[in-house]
């Protein structure tokens, strides 16, 4: 009897230990981006994509690392859309042993994180539209979506179909790399399509754009393009443009954020005529992502289409982690990632791209969209297929 009790106790103890080990085994992955300030929507969309992809893996039992089933835990870092914020974030995540980072978002962040992450041997993604978003000398950096060099020409052509009156445009963006790298490329696309383009840059952190708007309206543009201005800034710019009597179309050939722009500017009646680059060509399958998010994470998704656009990168990273069986060896995860076809259950099929522009084929390229609002009514989002 005593032996049986001892054996039973030992069995319970063993089972409890195994369960505890399974519970204790966590695999940490980082998520990074601006999670406060005017660009917060983009950073939260990045973190949301990472959390959703991790939750999907966890729902199937987690990832097997050294023979143990581990739960993936996402550690978020607010890099504040700055180079130093992203560099500090890479070190902060490295101090927790995190080698895989979904993020950061913007060009200053991408520039700041690259050398630090390379030193820490961390795999990073970025959604920057910088001219150097990818570089062959940083093989552990991946790119979530192409920059304006790839899509701005198609975007301008589509916008001109809806707003043929545009013969001149004034582009307004922050005066750092997150603004200049995008607005200057957008300006070339406008010029190539016969539209006279001027560029106007402002100090990031500007809250009142009235003087800048006075300056750019002095050139009598037919349209104003807010390029990659953070959505919060772009909303104020739209509001103040309309108050200054500007009646022409307003464009946005930069990052996503139409919902935030609508909220800050005062709605469709204020926005009136608007065209924007949408990182994803919205379908019902993509809208389904929000339902999956609510079901798995029990909260409302933040970030709109930016979350959907980031999700394939996060999902593919999780798949690569599962295939590599590690979160500590970034080079091994990167090797598995490169082997994966570019496809996503909600986004469909895409391409690996980047060789032509950056000299390294580590960019995801899915179909993208061009959204149009005319006379305060949404006309729809046109789908443009990816080509290499």
């Amino acid at each position: 009897m005593k032996t049986s009790v001892t054996l039973l106790a030992a069995a319970f103890s063993l089972a409890a230990t195994v369960a505890a080990q399974a519970q204790d085994c966590t695999a940490k992955v980082g998520a990074m981006g601006p999670m406060s300030g005017g660009a917060a929507q983009w950073g939260l969309a990045m973190a949301g994509a990472a959390e959703l992809a991790a939750a999907e893996v966890n729902a199937t039992g987690g990832v097997t690392i050294n023979g143990k089933k581990c739960k993936i835990v996402v550690v978020s870092y607010d890099s504040k859309y700055t180079a130093d914020g992203a560099a500090a974030g890479a070190n902060a995540l490295a101090s927790e042993g995190i080698k895989i980072i979904i993020g950061p978002v913007g060009s200053p962040e991408a520039t700041g994180i690259k050398p630090v992450a390379a030193r820490n041997e961390q795999l990073t993604w970025n959604a920057a539209y910088a001219k150097n978003a990818l570089e062959a000398k940083y093989p552990l950096v991946f790119h979530i979506a192409p920059g304006p060099g790839t899509w701005s020409d198609a975007m301008v052509k589509h916008a001109l179909k809806h707003f043929p009156q545009i013969k001149s445009v004034a582009l307004v963006a922050p005066n750092d790399q997150g603004g200049t790298d995008i607005a200057s490329v957008d300006a070339v696309a406008y010029r190539n399509n016969g539209v006279k383009a001027t560029e106007e840059y402002y100090q990031r952190g500007t809250t009142n754009f009235a003087p800048i708007i006075t300056r750019l309206l002095a050139t009598n543009p037919d349209a104003v393009d807010t390029a990659s201005s953070p959505p919060g800034d772009a909303g104020v710019i739209v509001k103040q443009l309309r108050l200054a009597g500007f009646k022409g179309p307003i464009g946005r050939m930069g990052g996503p954020g139409t919902e935030e722009i609508l909220r800050v500017s005062g709605g469709m009646d204020v926005l009136k005529d608007f065209y924007w680059f949408e990182t994803v060509a919205v379908t019902d399958q993509m809208r389904e992502i929000d339902n999956i998010y609510r079901k798995l994470l029990g909260k409302e998704p933040v970030g709109g289409t930016a979350l959907w656009g980031n999700l394939p990168a996060a999902r593919m990273t999780m798949k690569a982690i599962v295939n590599a069986g590690t979160v500590e060896d970034a080079a091994k995860v990167a090797a598995e990632l490169r082997k994966l076809p570019v496809e996503d259950p909600n986004m469909g099929k895409g391409l690996w791209a980047g060789q032509k522009q950056y000299g390294i084929n580590q960019e995801l390229f899915f179909a993208f969209g061009v959204g149009i609002i005319k006379d305060g009514k949404e006309v729809g989002i046109a789908r443009i297929e990816p080509t290499n």
């Binding site: 300030g37 917060a40 009597g245």
Partner: protein, 288 residues
């Protein structure tokens, strides 16, 4: 010419907003000797209280503004009385306390309201057109309220016993105390007056621009710049400097662009401080 006039309108409008902020900031320094790093936090609270009253409780906007002023003044009074007062003569400690309060406020608002901008618009919209010049109606209303508030503050400080007592404390605390002035009553009142002004500005300006956690950062920078230009502790200097900053910002941004405009402003302040370290109307030594 159109640009010149439009820049003047923008500059005066900006100047009035900056004056409200800077007067509160310099009032606290002049009377308490405290550099209030939480000033931007009270601006944000003013905005969020007004937003909550209008957006969540359905109150009319003018009432929401009054509630925002009362709430920020009350919060300032409590903060001064229970925290700042204990360390009022330790400049480093008060600096850290106010900085800490700002971090608590901005992170608290982030937790409660989330990081995205609120849907908060001024109840009056549209512009009045004078030939080629557009003046947004909301800016005119805010300008009127700001100028009225500045006048009211002047009357309080220069035409009431409370104002005389506060100015006496600012001039020479020891002598004022010997005359029967009681800092333990007057310091919280001065702090509340200043934070109420910040709250008023937040409630008025955030629906015109944007309301999100973090909008207090540039407020602190502008207030600091303005009071240094005007002379730390000088009320007249702060008001004068606020309009100079607003007008220089408007003209430099209109004529040189958003990047160089900011540079012009800071260069001007730097030059002024080289030739007049006490600012426009500042004194060499604080009496308090």
């Amino acid at each position: 010419m159109e640009q010149f006039l439009q820049a003047a309108v923008i500059g005066i409008s900006l100047g009035a907003q900056y004056a409200l902020l800077a007067l509160g900031f310099t009032l606290i320094f002049g009377i308490l000797g405290v550099v209030n790093f939480a000033h931007g936090g009270f601006y944000m609270i003013g905005g969020y209280v007004a937003y909550s009253c209008v957006g969540l409780l359905g109150l009319p906007y003018p009432l929401a503004v009054l509630i925002a002023v009362a709430a920020t003044a009350a919060l300032g009074w409590v903060f001064e009385l229970f925290l700042l007062e204990r360390l009022i003569d330790d400049h480093l400690a008060t600096l850290m306390l106010t900085l800490g309060l700002y971090l608590i406020v901005s992170n608290g608002l982030l937790r409660v309201f989330g990081p995205l901008s609120m849907e908060f618009s001024f109840p009056v919209s549209g512009s009045i057109q004078f030939g080629p010049i557009y003046v947004p109606r909301e800016n005119l209303i805010v300008l009127g309220i700001c100028l009225s508030a500045i006048l009211a503050l002047w009357l309080v400080l220069f035409r009431t016993d409370l104002g005389r007592a506060l100015r006496a404390l600012a001039d020479d605390r020891q002598v004022a105390m010997a005359q029967g002035m009681r800092p333990k009553l007057l310091f919280p009142a001065a702090f509340a007056l200043a934070t109420g002004l910040a709250g008023l500005t937040g409630a008025l300006v955030t629906p015109i621009l944007a309301l999100s956690p973090g909008v207090g950062d540039p407020v602190l920078a502008t207030s600091f710049l303005t009071v240094i230009l005007g002379g730390l502790g000088s009320l007249g200097g702060a008001a004068l400097a606020a309009f100079i900053v607003g007008i220089v910002e408007a003209y430099s941004s209109v004529y040189f662009g958003g990047s160089i405009g900011a540079l012009v402003l800071f260069t001007l302040v730097l030059l002024l401080l080289v030739f007049r370290p006490t600012g426009l109307l500042g004194r060499e030594i604080r009496g308090a």
